[in-house]
């Protein structure tokens, strides 16, 4: 049991960081906070999905998307459409001139359910769409842009324009989308009332579980050659291309991955707050998502979680007591993170806290057994044991700045 790779990983430095986050999210916060506050944390965590995606896409591969709100919103709207249809039974909407369709459609003189709403009667379809719709859009944008070598600032601006377009479209097409108010008054998920405290607490744990799934997917990618190529592409795109890689394919992949994470986050967001509206999609919301990632440390997937939690907690704190100061704080955060702490909290942690940890660790155990994620042949294992510094810096010279 003690030799199982999982246990070994958990007592490695990296494993302990994951363990610490798990303890915080699964034990400390649920014990310390009441149901209302815990639901708030759950809401913040849904942004962490976006932030993890941005770490992979922007931090690692250097592709800055200012349109992650689009994917977050699409995931959220897919879920909201399903929930809205469930809430709009003919009985519940009997007073409408057309019973059985969502209330905002009735207000806008629409008399039949639009075709693209139909499939959202199915929960299975909705689950697929939550990931599928954002990924499909990301794929189209990715193919169009990356195969033509559009990158950097141009890509950022175009993704921002797409965020603007989608917001205007949703607000303008009130009858089909609920307009500026969004899709509201969501009640049950397959008959399960999502508005109760118990439901919200359960949803919180679902969010945490899915968050760890995404974290492990991201971690797997960054440990594999795939992750190394993403990083390499960021600084030496030409060399990667002339090492025989189709750079565009890798960019499309990582952009779709970020979109998938954002879509999952968006769907959970809808469940957690009980509505979805265009204000979570637009330019401002999208660029705020970048700061979650930047504050945590643009190269650190764990940092992204902390970044999303901290920025959103600060935002709520400020909005409750000094709403007029929040934009100043947010602005200062953007400037400070870029000018003074480009590696965010993870960078600071590595510089200031890890040396302390090192002293602590060394006192406790002389030689830390370090497992490898990739199964190694015996020969290799011996070889690795012989060489103090291993070939895989992601694990052995573990740095939160990079993970």
């Amino acid at each position: 049991m003690k030799d199982s790779p999982v246990v070994k990983w958990l007592i490695s430095r990296e494993g302990l960081y994951y363990l610490a986050l798990a303890v915080l999210l699964v034990v400390v916060l649920p014990v310390a906070l009441d149901a209302f506050r815990l639901n708030m944390v759950g809401k913040y965590l849904t942004y962490a999905f976006v932030a993890i995606g941005l770490v992979m896409c922007w931090g690692k591969a250097g592709i800055l998307s200012l349109g992650q709100g689009v994917f977050f919103g699409l995931g959220g709207y897919c879920m909201a459409m399903y929930l809205k249809l469930e809430a709009s039974t003919p009985e519940a909407t009997a007073i409408q001139s057309t019973p059985g369709i969502p209330d905002f459609m009735d207000w806008n003189q629409i008399t039949a359910l639009p075709w693209f709403w139909e499939p959202f009667n199915s929960f299975a379809f909705t689950l697929i769409a939550v990931i599928g719709v954002p990924v499909l859009l990301a794929f189209i944008i990715g193919v169009a842009m990356f195969t033509r070598r559009v990158g950097g600032v141009y890509f950022a601006i175009i993704t921002q324009a797409i965020a603007a377009i989608l917001t205007i479209l949703i607000i303008g097409q009130q009858g089909y989308t609920g307009g500026i108010n969004g899709i509201t008054d969501l009640r049950t998920l397959m008959g399960w009332d999502i508005r109760t405290d118990e439901a919200k607490t359960s949803l919180y744990f679902v969010t945490v579980a899915l968050l760890f799934v995404c974290l492990f997917v991201a971690r797997l990618i960054q440990q594999r050659k795939l992750g190394r190529i993403l990083v390499a592409m960021n600084t030496q795109e030409t060399r990667v291309r002339f090492s025989g890689y189709d750079v565009a394919a890798f960019k499309i992949f990582v952009f779709c991955l970020a979109a998938a994470f954002a879509g999952i986050g968006g769907a959970l967001f809808t469940l957690s707050v009980g509505f979805m509206s265009p204000s979570f999609i637009g330019i401002v919301a999208s660029i705020e998502m970048v700061i979650f990632c930047a504050l945590g440390g643009r190269l650190s997937i764990l940092g992204a979680v902390y970044g999303a939690l901290l920025v959103n907690a600060a935002k709520s704190g400020f909005s409750e007591s000094f709403p007029e100061l929040w934009p100043f704080a947010m602005g200062a955060l953007f400037i400070g993170v870029v000018l003074a702490f480009p590696n965010g909290l993870a960078g600071l942690y590595q510089t200031y806290v890890m040396p302390l940890e090192d002293r602590l660790f060394r006192r406790k155990s002389g030689a830390r057994g370090v497992p490898r994620a990739e199964s190694a042949t015996p020969v290799q294992a011996r070889e690795q044991a012989a060489k103090a510094g291993d070939y895989d810096p992601m694990i052995d010279q573990y740095s939160p700045e990079k993970s």
Binding site: G152, G331, A332, F334, V338
Partner: protein, 308 residues
């Protein structure tokens, strides 16, 4: 969508909407010129550009109030004074921002984008604190009110015409400054080969600061012009930033002519579509077409075919 209109009605609609589009065109040109200088020449994305424009608008507002209170006799000419003030205030802030922030980020364009976004948040909130959340408007001098009647159905407002003339004059001035003056030559030298430019004795840091300040100053003038056709609020600038970026990128980042052509095309398309569709759909379609074209032709309309 043309059903129910006679040909002459359609002509008038196009003329009127075309003219309405020209006001938008003027704002686009003025905003985009500043952006194009900063982005095209320096590769820096200034997300706070809209806020610089609004700073110019507030400066104009203050100047007009001052004239109203202290120099009512000269009120007719306040706009020209305001324009100079707007330029100076914005250029000064621009130079400061370049020194404090942007110069540290020249090799990190994406980071500049984020940092200047932070700046735009701070400026917006500062405007809100100082000037209040409500939009303010200036009183137009008398000679700018009224309109010229061209035909029975077509009325051209004088303020709109005036703003367009300003926009085109500034565009011309920028052209001469960038392509016909010694200073412009220095700027272009730094763009093309920084180490070489430094080697021949050009103070590249100074050129950077002046270029950034000039771009911001032009945004200030844009703001002054903006007050002639709309009212000013703390977030008015943000509404234009994405559009103007698209104008700049669409035109080809290093081409002033391209910027003007694309500003014209985008503003006209949007304004004409607006008459037939809802405003939001007009904007969606315009933006989609622009993004679509950019996907097919990422280098923009007028970019030179460069050796890569």
């Amino acid at each position: 969508m043309f059903d129910g209109y006679t040909t002459s009605e359609l002509m008038s609609i196009f003329a009127m909407q075309g003219f309405a589009g020209l006001s938008l065109f003027s704002v686009f040109v003025l905003m985009a010129l500043g952006l194009a200088i900063i982005f095209g020449q320096m590769g820096v994305i200034n997300m706070a550009h809209g806020e610089f424009m609004i700073l110019g608008a507030y400066t104009t507002y203050l100047t007009s109030s001052a004239f109203q209170s202290y120099l009512p006799g000269l009120f007719g000419g306040y706009f020209f004074v305001a324009m100079i003030f707007a330029f100076l205030v914005c250029a000064a802030l621009g130079a400061f921002i370049e020194w404090a922030m942007v110069r540290h980020l020249y090799r990190r364009p994406l980071d500049t984008l984020l940092a200047t976004w932070g700046l735009s948040l701070i400026l917006q909130q500062a405007y809100r604190t100082i000037f209040g959340a409500r939009e303010v408007g200036v009183t137009l001098p008398e000679w700018m009110m009224g309109s010229i009647q061209v035909t029975d159905m077509v009325d051209l407002p004088i303020n709109g015409l005036f703003v367009m003339i300003i926009a085109l004059s500034i565009a011309l001035a920028v052209y001469f400054l960038m392509y016909r003056s010694g200073w412009g030559k220095k700027v272009r030298a730094v763009v093309q080969n920084r180490p070489m430019a430094e080697a021949v004795g050009i103070n590249s840091a100074g050129v950077d600061r002046a270029t950034f300040a000039l771009g911001c100053g032009i945004a200030g003038i844009a703001g002054a012009a903006f007050t002639m056709i709309g009212s000013t609020g703390p977030s008015s600038g943000q509404a234009y930033i994405v559009d103007t970026f698209l104008v700049v990128v669409f035109g080809g980042a290093q081409s002033l002519i391209g910027t003007i052509v694309s500003a014209f095309g985008i503003s006209q398309a949007q304004s004409t579509l607006e008459f037939f569709l809802s405003g939001s759909m007009a904007k969606v379609i315009t933006l989609l077409v622009v993004v679509g074209i950019l996907m097919l032709r990422p280098e923009g309309l007028m970019a030179l075919k460069i050796r890569r």
